[in-house]
């Protein structure tokens, strides 16, 4: 029980870390960027089956038009983010790592920012099933970074009962402020999206959980709620990884998702604020997800801020516009704690990309990267939000005892937040070891 919890009587999750937050872009309103000359749209920019292309090389597409359809239920469609011509379907780099099939669109010069393809609908008449279908048709996925298809998340299995929708406005990763800006600039769309999600899931209560370093968003959203509203705004402690589903559920409702279970096991479904604001905007208009807000920040950026970028925009194009100079740099998609570093500037922004961080030379070199032996200081033990024993897991990983890690030390409960590696004074790449161990265990099982 932390001091914060004692003082304020809040039931939060224990452990976690307080990295420097660098939320310097919190006061930067969302701005549009011009279209890049070419968009790169990977077919599997979500979790699940890749989408199936509906277009062929040379075909003209207009902004908003579907260009790939969902492959079954565990998949979502793709829409054209700009008007142009399909240049081909080729293997391109993605944030995930390996190259995958992507639709390339040569954007027409002077292409309008107006959306030219939509199918408006009266949301009030839709049944929960129809809302779920509309969500899938919109191509919406978890915009917080997971890119899990939203319709899958909101379709509650028959054997589960949920009573609360938790809206994740924590944004606990350092640097990122896009969710913060969305809450400030699009509160109505967000509340609309929350109502749709509540109808789709049959929940009677919604809690918007926001870290208390964003009290302006807390107050603003509270001001939009009438008395007796089923939606509640809750300030939670600013602490990484507050924005992880399990931690936020603990903080907001004091419920613990059981090992290996899902939020639905404790009657909860969690969605990110960006996702729900997106649904609130897209569903009534019958549009698809074609752009998203990302935070562009880091010491290497001349004009940091929050930008509304079309999906498929290559990193290089963004860097050209925000101004970047540097010789040795790490480019990170998402936050510094969990975001992947990319190896090619042709990598596009995808649905799950919440930020573009440029950590230039000094901030990388500040840390020494020498790895020392574990001195059993237990900092990782007091940091792990899942209450695992990363010290022990790390020693087992070094001996490649991956099965023992899973069987005796709960390796599978690790959600790779990176707190252990962050605090380790020996610079032991703990979470990196755990990823390898999990991957090898998965391979063994398959």
């Amino acid at each position: 029980m932390g001091l914060f919890n004692l003082l304020f009587g809040q039931k939060g999750f224990t452990h976690g870390i307080h990295p420097p937050y660098h939320k310097d872009t919190a006061d930067k309103p969302i701005r549009r960027l011009p279209f890049p000359p070419q968009l790169v749209l990977p077919l599997d920019q979500h979790i699940g089956k890749p989408a199936i292309p509906l277009v062929v090389k040379g075909q003209e597409v207009v902004r908003g038009e579907p260009i790939a359809k969902a492959d079954g239920n565990f998949s979502v469609p793709l829409h054209a983010p700009a008007t142009g011509r399909v240049a081909g379907i080729e293997l391109m780099p993605t944030p995930k790592g390996p190259k995958t099939s992507a639709i390339l669109i040569d954007v027409y010069e002077g292409s309008t920012q107006e959306v030219l393809w939509e199918q408006p609908r009266d949301m009030s008449e839709l049944s929960p099933q129809e809302i779920i279908q509309a969500i899938q048709d919109s191509g919406m996925v978890g915009l917080g970074g997971a890119a899990f298809p939203s319709h899958m998340k909101l379709a509650i299995p028959d054997d589960k009962q949920v009573d609360t929708l938790i809206v994740n406005g924590c944004e606990c990763e350092p640097y990122l402020t896009c969710d913060h800006r969305i809450m400030l600039e699009h509160p109505k769309a967000l509340l609309r999206g929350i109502r749709y999600a509540m109808r789709a899931t049959g929940t009677e209560k919604a809690i918007i959980g926001i870290e208390d370093n964003k009290m302006d968003a807390v107050e603003l959203l509270k001001g939009h709620l009438s008395k007796g509203s089923p939606v509640e705004v809750k300030a939670v402690e600013t602490k990484y990884p507050q924005g992880s589903e399990k931690m936020l559920i603990k903080s907001a409702l004091d419920r613990e998702v059981p090992t290996g279970g899902l939020p639905a096991d404790v009657g909860v479904v969690v969605n990110n604020v960006g996702t729900l604001a997106g649904l609130g905007d897209l569903l009534p208009k019958g549009r698809g997800l074609i752009e998203r807000v990302i935070t562009v920040a880091g010491p290497g950026i001349a004009k940091p801020g929050n930008y509304l970028v079309p999906l498929g925009t290559p990193i290089r194009h963004i860097l050209d516009h925000v101004g970047y100079e540097g010789a040795r740099t790490e480019f990170i998609l998402g936050g510094p704690m969990m975001g992947p570093a990319v190896s090619a500037l042709d990598t596009p922004i995808t649905k799950g990309t919440s930020g573009l961080l440029v950590l230039n030379e000094p901030s990388i070199e500040e840390e020494s990267h020498k790895i020392w032996p574990c001195i059993r200081c237990a900092r990782c033990v007091s940091a792990c939000p899942m209450h695992l024993n990363p010290s022990m897991l790390g020693q087992l990983a070094a001996k490649r005892k991956y099965e023992e890690m899973a069987e005796d030390y709960h390796l599978t409960d690790c959600f790779e937040c990176g707190c252990c590696s962050y605090v380790c004074p020996s610079n032991i790449p703990l979470v990196q070891y755990f990823r390898i161990a999990k991957a090898i265990n998965r391979e063994q099982a398959a």
Binding site: P20, P174, P258, A327, T329, L388, S391, G418, P425
Partner: protein
């Protein structure tokens, strides 16, 4: 953007808290330095020579074993320095320098290098070294010197410069020369145990009594320990619970027979308990990592210390208590694995 950019690739997290092993170890040295300075002021050049010889021997031994195992030098991690300073502090100020060097070599060799160096050692290397000389040189390690004797900055304690492989001379005559008051040659612990004399608590707090080089000033030990605890480089629960464990155990016996047994405050302030609790029991390498394990480990050390003191043949029990705690640590860790978030345990 510039024409040529080297892209760095690393896996997340891309941020780090910044404090590494070297920073932690260096701060432990900082915390020990005031205690060392006080020791030198108290016992003069003999204590200084002991600190220097023991620490240098630790560093040289560490380097020797680095070379023998084909590794690069690990002196930069400061851990051998800490071992040296701590070991010197647990020895009597007039301890023959050659015996100090033996303790240092054995501590590093058997206590650390044999296990694979920093982080791998099961027990505190300084205490291994001390345990060795306790068994090997039982007289020398219980030969005490009065604090603040005259001429301590100009002459060595006669035992200090004992030639290697020889036993130190008796110092009774020398002691009566340099002190005005009669000095019985006993520490507060020995006075209490064998003669029933309780030393003034304030003297023990300030450190004006006889004792091992760095054990006498509870106040400075506390200050150094609190500094480290405030910087989160030391788990405050360990020293506090060691002291609580010792005080409670002593308190029980004190209530049974206040004449025969010492009072709890005396127990906490005397001997090496303060130094042991704050700087040795709390040694990260030898203590458990689990929250419950830390509690069991620390209380165990406190209780065992008092039991050895009250019922054992020795006057001091801290060293063996901590070594026992170190030995039990892997087992304690094993049986106190924390409940994982969301884990359903039987009966819950």
């Amino acid at each position: 953007m510039s024409k040529k950019t080297t892209i760095e690739l690393r896996t997340s997290p891309h941020a780090h808290a910044g404090e590494d092993v070297v920073v932690i170890m260096r701060n432990v040295v900082y915390a020990l330095l005031p205690i060392c300075a006080f020791t030198v002021w108290q016992f003069g050049i003999s204590a200084l020579a002991l600190l220097v010889v023991v620490t240098l021997t630790c560093l040289l031994s560490e380097r020797l074993f680095n070379a023998l195992s084909g590794k690069s030098s690990s002196l930069g991690d400061w851990s051998a320095t800490i071992t040296g300073l701590l070991l010197a502090m647990t020895l009597p100020p007039g301890f023959p320098l050659w015996m100090g060097a033996v303790a240092a070599f054995v501590g590093v060799a058997l206590g650390k290098a044999m296990f694979g160096g920093l982080g791998m050692n099961a027990m505190n290397p300084a205490l291994i070294g001390r345990a060795f000389v306790q068994a090997a040189f039982p007289v020398a390690i219980t030969t005490w010197t009065p604090a603040f004797f005259d001429g301590r900055f100009s002459q060595f304690i006669p035992t200090t410069l004992t030639p290697p492989f020889l036993q130190p001379p008796g110092i009774t005559d020398w002691v009566s020369e340099v002190t005005v008051d009669a000095f019985s040659g006993a520490t507060p612990l020995a006075l209490q145990k064998f003669e029933g004399v309780v030393t003034d608590h304030m003297d023990m707090l300030l450190g004006t009594t006889a004792g091992s080089a760095g054990e006498t000033s509870a106040l400075l030990i506390l200050a150094g320990g609190l500094y480290l605890a405030a910087r989160r480089m030391l788990d405050w629960r360990i020293p506090v619970l060691v002291l609580v464990g010792a005080a409670v155990t002593a308190g029980i016996f004190y209530m049974i027979d206040p004449v025969k047994y010492p009072d709890p405050l005396f127990v906490v302030l005397s001997g090496g308990l303060m130094l042991g609790a704050w700087f040795m029991a709390s040694d990260m390498v030898g203590s458990p990592v689990t929250p419950l394990g830390v509690v069991i480990y620390a209380l165990m050390i406190g209780v065992i210390t008092v039991i050895i003191r009250l019922f054992g043949g020795l006057t001091e029990g801290v060293m063996y208590a901590i070594l026992l705690g170190n030995a039990a640590t892997p087992l304690i860790d094993q049986i106190t694995q924390p409940r994982v978030f969301g884990e359903q345990r039987a009966g819950k």
